[in-house]
């Protein structure tokens, strides 16, 4: 397996992991180019973490193979580990240690003892004021930052972030993404998993995972164009559930979903608001109001899962 492009830093080919008769990751292939922010999107238990663990040689694949920075994930895991950073879902911090001690510890484990490098990481992540606080006393947003700090203290060229923003408030999430961009701009390639659909919009490319399978990979715009062929409509009408049931029977409607006090319908390309309105009126549904809207990545997911 030789990379055909110089700038490909991660190659996964047919990666598969079975636990007993459960297939956690099913024949997953993708590539990551240097400098990308690849978002790996999927619900809990869809195989995101297992994929990362196989790339890093933490788990042996049941089938398939992968390379990171040209090193084989199984045979040359140690070579990979020196060059990559990994922030796991659980934020691997030692509660009894202060922020600074946690950082010093991980630096030491990477063989770094230059205090300037530590200071640089602290400054980059704005951890100056929490250096002497115990990790256990930190709010979640700060734990997340500290965990990121421990993952980048050795200046990795690739960063694997597993659900880094889980449970963190929107403000802190945006700040965190700011940091991710900053790292990406300095040349770090990033693979980030998330179950927030809106975060996928922040990535240069997105992969959709469901039940162990990688359903699609592409830029958000590409995916919206390729997977949501047709138009997306906000449909207001009463009664809501009857309308939902009715729209599901319409041939021009590819997908319809409930969205709060209205419905969201994806239709064939040719159809217009008029088509829909007429159909709904004819079915005796009331207060019909239809408005075209832009597709979201959630529409992409629903449409991919429906196929």
């Amino acid at each position: 397996m030789v990379s055909d492009q110089d700038d490909v830093v991660v190659i996964s080919e047919g990666l598969t992991k079975r636990f007993g008769d459960f297939t956690a990751v099913d024949n997953v292939s993708f590539r990551i180019r240097a400098g990308e922010v690849l978002g790996y999107l999927g619900p809990n238990g869809s195989g995101k973490t297992t994929t990362i663990r196989m790339l890093l040689g933490l788990l042996l694949p049941s089938a398939g193979q992968s390379q990171v920075l040209g090193f084989d994930s199984v045979d040359e895991a140690e070579d990979i580990r020196q060059r990559v950073g990994y922030m796991s879902q659980k934020f691997a911090l030692y509660d009894e240690l202060t922020s600074f001690e946690n950082l010093t510890f991980y630096a030491g484990v990477y063989g770094i003892r230059d205090p300037d490098e530590l200071t640089a990481t602290i400054n980059l992540l704005g951890l100056e004021n929490i250096q002497n606080e115990r990790a256990s006393d930190l709010p979640l947003g700060w734990r997340q930052r500290l965990a990121l700090a421990t993952a980048i203290v050795h200046k990795p060229t690739i960063l694997f972030l597993d659900e880094p923003t889980s449970g963190v408030d929107p403000g802190a999430r945006r700040d965190f993404w700011d940091l991710i961009y900053e790292l990406a701009e300095s040349g770090v390639t990033i693979l980030v998993t998330t179950h927030y659909m809106d975060e996928a919009e922040y990535c240069t490319r997105v992969g959709f995972m469901r039940r162990g399978r990688l359903m699609a990979v592409g830029t958000p715009t590409e995916l919206k164009e390729s997977e949501v062929a047709g138009a997306v409509w906000r449909v207001h009408c009463t009664p809501l559930l009857a309308s939902l049931d009715f729209l599901e029977t319409l041939p021009i409607v590819r997908n319809v979903s409930l969205s709060g006090n209205h419905l969201r319908a994806i239709t064939e390309e040719k159809s217009s608001a008029q088509n829909l309105e007429q159909a709904l009126d004819a079915a005796g549904l009331r207060d019909v109001h239809i408005q075209e809207t832009a597709p979201t990545l959630e529409d992409v997911f629903l449409s991919l899962a429906g196929n």
Binding site: R53, L56, G57, L58, L59, L60, A77, E78, R81, Q82, V84, Y86, S88, Q89, K90, F91, A92, L93, Y94, D95, E96, L97, E101, T104, F105, Y106, A107, G108, V109, Y110, G111, I112, R113, R134, T150, A151
Partner: protein
């Protein structure tokens, strides 16, 4: 050689130990508690057995006999009663464990040429106390009888030399007072070294797994051996501190000697630590939670204590148990530590045991190192 990675692990582990004051307190206090319990409460020494006296004679000679009982500290002359019934009810209630009955004609018989008979009744419900009290009561009485006889012969002008044709001169070595603390304190050292190292090491590794930090460590360039050494070294130090603690307390409270010198004791204890650390690491490769780790370690602790000769001599056990005892590392360490503390022997008489410990320790750690791979599955 300075290894930053190893240093980091060790430093981190020490910080964690110090920042968890409750566990640290337990680790320091448990040996003291165990030593006090084993040294005082679990003693098999019989002292101050409460004795009820029914002296029907109350003459000079009877007093001399009672003085002899009083002088030996086996008995505490607790009750002076006026009837046999009183003795019975005291023993029934458990207030007295034994009764001594001196007949009304005691003085007369001693003064004359007859044989005085005294009666000793005792509560046999606790066989240890009963057996020891019985032999003590007989010994005291016999010694007193010999004295009386000597006096009698002296009065008639004969020498004491021709008194008995045979005399056994017993001599108890190493522990002349046969103090059970001499036996118990080395045992406590062994038990503590074993339990602290195995339980603490196991939970320290499993805790990393529970919190997910092990995953982060695996993806660092740290080597397996650095992780293992860094993990076990702090706990080895802690256990050695415990050893010194128990030795010092043992010598201060119970007068247990260190006849072969501290150096040799610490060296062999260090060797034994490897076994406990190895077992702890092995347990950590099996257990998923700290609770599981503690339970599994504890399960290995029980047979160790009972089959190692901690309380009961291995030689007195059924053959099958003796075979099993061959693979109990604590058994070898107890032999070593008891010999070093009490007998004051040199290494030359303990080669087999030391070799056994080395084999156990090295193979447990190697086995654990093989199982503790830098991988999650």
């Amino acid at each position: 050689m300075v290894n930053i990675r190893l240093q980091s692990i060790i430093r981190k582990e020490f910080i964690q130990i110090i920042r968890d004051p409750r566990t640290l307190m337990l680790v320091i206090l448990i040996p003291i508690m165990q030593l006090l319990m084993m040294g005082y409460a679990a003693t098999t020494d019989v002292r101050n057995v409460p004795l009820a006296i029914f002296d029907q004679d109350r003459g000079m000679e009877a007093r001399a006999l009672l003085d002899a009982y009083r002088a030996a500290d086996y008995f505490h002359l607790a009750y002076d009663v006026d009837s046999l019934d009183e003795i019975l009810s005291l023993i029934d209630r458990g207030d007295a464990k034994a009764g001594l009955i001196i007949p009304p004609d005691y003085n007369q018989q001693i003064a004359g040429k007859g044989t005085a008979q005294i009666a000793f009744v005792l509560d046999g419900s606790d066989p240890t106390i009963a057996a020891t009290s019985l032999s003590a009561a007989q010994l005291i009485a016999q010694a007193h009888a010999t004295e009386v006889m000597a006096e009698r012969l002296a009065r008639t002008g004969q020498g004491a030399a021709a008194l008995t044709p045979l005399e056994v001169r017993t001599q108890v070595w190493y522990n002349p007072d046969m103090l059970s603390s001499y036996f118990m304190v080395p045992g406590v050292i062994g038990m503590i070294l074993y339990s602290i190292t195995s339980i603490l090491t196991a939970t320290a590794v499993v805790r990393e797994r529970e919190r997910g930090t092990i995953e982060q460590l695996i993806v660092t360039p740290i080597r397996s051996w650095e992780l293992i050494v860094g993990k076990i070294l702090p706990y080895a130090v802690l256990a050695l501190i415990n050893t010194v603690e128990v030795l010092a307390l043992g010598s201060w409270l119970f007068g247990v000697p260190i006849r072969s010198g501290l150096g040799l004791v610490m060296l062999t204890s260090g060797l034994f630590l490897l076994t406990g650390l190895g077992i702890g690491l092995l347990v950590s490769t099996v257990a998923n939670t700290q609770q599981e780790a503690t339970l599994i370690s504890f399960t290995t602790l029980l047979p160790s204590i009972f089959l190692s000769g901690f309380f009961f001599p291995v030689e007195a056990m059924p053959r099958v148990l003796q075979w099993i005892a061959v693979v109990i590392p604590l058994k070898y360490y107890l032999t070593i530590i008891r010999s070093l503390l009490i007998k004051g022997v040199g290494v030359d008489s303990l080669y087999t045991e030391i070799l056994a410990l080395a084999i156990f320790g090295v193979s447990f750690i190697l086995l654990a190192a093989m199982r503790l791979q830098k991988r999650l599955d």
